[in-house]
């Protein structure tokens, strides 16, 4: 039934936003239940879109499908299915929430959908087998009960996974754009900056520069127009935090940018997103259209006279463009070359030489929450020098891979063994890598470290933008150092010599070490070169490039020594230091490896134990994978053992 009242379709005054929120809340509550299917990249990769389609199909079959708009006309709906952004727990995807009971289903397949529907709608029961199972066998009914979530504190990710990112009215219903309305009504730009400064918010892009200070400096800088740029050039391998936020809660970032623009006096902004993130770009575009339509973005925002609009700029794949001056050059249409030193700050001389405020996605997403709940609320979480929370993409050899948000000051141990659930397959924890190619590896002894910007830095690593990779005893630390350096060498813009030639030479030395050609003086040389590159490079990429090498040299020196002096790779990873070997005692001559070997390097016949002809072997590892577990006859050997046997 229609309420007869004209539906609000735009916010024409900041004070009207409360009414809009209430309308949206009431209307959306007319939908009694719903199935929220995670449509984040991880779950999509596991087939969540098919699960969502199946929910929609079966709901339609029951004659229950209804357009969301009808809710706003007063109609009631029994149920619906919608896609959400990333819930974070990628390990267990595809994830499905049944609301409002909050039932949390994991690893849902298309074939499970009828059962879930019947249990939820017809019998008011739950599908026990799809609930999250603790290692002790007990089940968790809701997300809150799952240890992966209960150890977290979500500020940036608060709405991620609980709203449909393509529906601005859901964001309104949850208090969206309230902070912007508040700022427009009650605050002068100086007061906004004061709130951000008092909150102690530090930039989440990596370096942790105080956001309030940056805003103040940009406001003060002479020049017109000014620009706000959101940095979503998330290039670290193993990091997907920013993308998840854009995909799951794009409006929070837009709102943060509009508040920043108001504070510094800008009317135009850019969102610099990697072109490799097509879903994030699509969601942003949709969010932008809706925000303009509702007049919470664009000209004369909420009738306040304040204008702010933004353009999406798709980065073309250059890691160095995450650096502020390079990013600016890239938007201007040039190579992403960082400006040479000495250079003015981007806040003073940025895009087209105008004052430009550049903040990370997560930083901007935190701003509306800080404005709504106050600086003291924010600074009450975290540590004194790094208030708030940290978002990490937790991956590698860890039970619970996914996106997590934890208060600053939490120990690495709590992250790895609490939220992360420890190392799988009875593996042994070896190191945690943070900060991607700019960061370092910390060993088990450092698990007690309380994580924040400063503690990680003094331990020889870095917060970075939030990649956190767990390594176990099967990871070779020299190889990890080489891996990151190879990445930086590839991504070096080539402008300054320390970075271009220095890191290349370091990579050559590391390649020698991992291929058994290491020399006794190599470690000292690596350290000396590393220090030189840090001192002499012009931008953050070069200045941090040696970190993975230096930190592994510091904490895992014995592994370098084994490679150099014993020509052994203790983790059995470095190809040129290992050989595959069939234990004649264990080999049952089943012929599986023999058939699978692509280079025909395996000799043998029925009842005759097989032998690998080392000169033909290309060490692809197929024999190890095909040898049945019950025989386990194939193994990798290195160093002394290798010399003794062969």
């Amino acid at each position: 039934m229609s309420t007869g009242k004209r539906l609000l379709t735009k916010v024409d005054a900041p004070a009207r936003l409360t009414e809009v929120r209430e309308n949206c809340r009431v209307a959306l509550a007319r939908q009694k239940t719903r199935f929220l299917v995670c449509a984040g990249t991880g779950c999509v990769a596991m087939g969540s879109l098919n699960v969502l389609a199946e929910f929609k199909r079966l709901i339609a079959e029951r004659g229950l499908d209804m357009d969301v708009d009808l809710l706003f006309e007063g109609k009631e709906a029994q149920t619906a299915a919608a896609g959400s952004g990333c819930h974070g727990f990628c390990e267990k995807g595809p994830l499905v929430h049944f609301e409002p009971r909050g039932i949390f289903y994991t690893k849902v397949k298309v074939t499970d959908v009828p059962e879930i529907l019947a249990a939820s709608l017809d019998h008011s029961t739950v599908v026990e087998r799809l609930l999250y199972h603790n290692p002790d066998g007990s089940t968790c009914l809701t997300e809150k009960e799952v240890p992966f979530y209960s150890g977290q504190q979500r500020i940036v990710l608060e709405l991620c996974g609980s709203i449909d990112p393509e529906e601005i009215r859901e964001y309104f219903a949850r208090g969206g754009y309230q902070a912007l309305a508040k700022v427009l009504q009650e605050c002068t730009p100086a007061q906004v900056i004061d709130i951000v400064e008092r909150s102690g918010l530090r930039g989440r892009g990596g370096a942790g520069f105080p956001a309030g200070k940056k805003w103040a400096s940009c406001r003060k800088a002479p020049g017109d127009p000014k620009y706000v740029v959101c940095n979503c050039d998330e290039g670290d391998p193993g990091a997907f935090m920013d993308r998840s936020v854009l995909e799951a809660d794009p409006h929070s970032v837009l709102e943060g940018m509009a508040i920043a623009a108001y504070a510094i006096g800008a009317e135009k902004g850019f969102m610099y997103v990697r072109a490799e993130y097509p879903l994030a770009v699509a969601r942003l575009q949709k969010a932008l259209e809706q925000a303009r339509q509702w007049k919470v973005l664009g000209e004369n925002i909420m009738g306040s006279g304040f204008n702010f609009d933004l353009e999406i700029f798709q980065g073309a794949g250059a890691f160095v463009c995450g650096e502020s001056t390079a990013l600016v050059r890239s938007i201007e249409g040039y190579r992403g070359w960082p400006k040479p030193l000495p250079r003015a700050r981007t806040t003073e001389v940025g895009l087209w030489d105008k004052p430009t405020l550049l903040n990370n996605v997560k930083t901007l997403s935190m701003v509306p929450k800080i404005v709504n709940r106050g600086a003291d609320w924010f600074s009450s979480t975290g540590t004194k020098s790094s208030p708030g929370t940290a978002v990490f993409a937790l991956t590698g050899k860890i039970m619970n891979s996914g996106l997590i948000e934890v208060p600053m000051g939490i120990t690495l141990r709590e992250i790895v063994y609490g939220v992360g659930g420890g190392v799988p397959n009875n593996g042994k924890f070896k190191a945690v890598q943070t900060g991607g190619p700019s960061g370092g590896c910390l060993p088990e002894e450092m698990l007690g470290l309380e994580v924040d910007f400063d503690s990680l830095k003094s331990a020889g690593s870095m917060m970075g933008s939030g990649g956190m990779v767990i390594l176990d005893e099967k990871s070779c630390m020299v190889d990890i150092a080489r891996y990151f350096l190879e990445f930086t060498v590839h991504e070096s813009c080539g402008q300054c010599i320390p970075c271009r030639n220095g890191s290349y030479q370091m990579l050559q030395i590391l390649s020698d070490i991992t291929s058994g050609k290491g020399q006794p003086g190599d470690m000292a040389l690596l350290e000396e070169m590393g220090q030189t590159i840090i001192a002499g490079s012009i931008c953050g990429l070069g200045q941090s490039a040696p970190n993975p090498v230096l930190s592994t040299l510091h904490y895992f020196r014995h592994e370098y020594e084994a490679h150099i002096h014993e020509k052994a790779c203790p983790a059995l990873q470095c190809k040129e230091l290992i050989v595959y070997w069939i234990d004649p005692e264990k080999c049952k001559a089943c012929g599986r490896c023999l058939k699978a070997c692509p280079t025909e390097a395996i000799k043998g016949e029925k009842k005759v134990p097989h032998v690998i002809e080392q000169s033909k072997c290309n060490k692809c590892g197929i024999c190890l994978e095909t040898c049945p577990d019950r025989f386990s006859a194939v193994s990798k050997i290195t160093g002394r053992q290798k010399m003794d046997i062969l």
């Binding site: 990628c90 997907f240 249409g333 891979s401 692809c620 590892g621």
Partner: protein, 160 residues
């Protein structure tokens, strides 16, 4: 150097009609050109230079800086082996080598029949599924050297 076909000229005109022709549009223009042609043909780069009044060498210099752009004809299907950190520690390197063997090309190459490209990428963000391979838009997770053929047979099935 082959002459641009009339249809190519029309395609270029169509791309340019969406832009003003100023320097700061170079990257978006090149992205659109690549969407249309699949790569950046040399002749089209010259047209971009003319359109934006920027020298050919600078357009080329900008384009080659970014890894997104290709300068040779590409295959119909793109095999991307993720070599992000999570995939690396779970064994992406042997998988990449297995694809090189299977397709008979090295990483970055295109098969002779222009069916497949093979490239390594740094993180597709599906780290929980590591190691990951993406063929066109389809994600294959938890890969090992034994099952790489599955990624390619699916494509061949769709081809018929």
């Amino acid at each position: 150097m082959p002459m641009l076909l009339e249809t190519d000229e029309q395609k270029i005109e169509h791309v340019f009609s969406r832009f003003k022709g100023v320097r700061e549009e170079i990257i978006p223009i090149l992205q659109t050109v690549q969407d249309v042609f699949g790569y950046l043909p040399e002749d089209v780069l010259k047209e971009v230079a003319r359109f934006t009044s920027v020298s050919e060498s600078r357009v080329y210099g900008t384009a080659t800086f970014y890894t997104q752009f290709y300068f040779t004809r590409r295959g119909r299907h793109n095999v991307k082996v993720c070599c992000g950190t999570a995939c690396h520690v779970k064994g992406a390197a042997p998988i990449l080598e297995a694809f090189e063997r299977e397709l008979g090309i090295s990483c970055g190459g295109t098969t002779e029949d222009f069916k497949y490209n093979l490239e390594r990428v740094a993180c597709v963000g599906s780290c929980a599924l590591a190691p990951v391979v993406v063929v066109d838009d389809k994600v294959f997770g938890l890969m090992d050297v034994k099952n790489i053929k599955e990624c390619l047979t699916v494509e061949e099935g769709e081809q018929q």
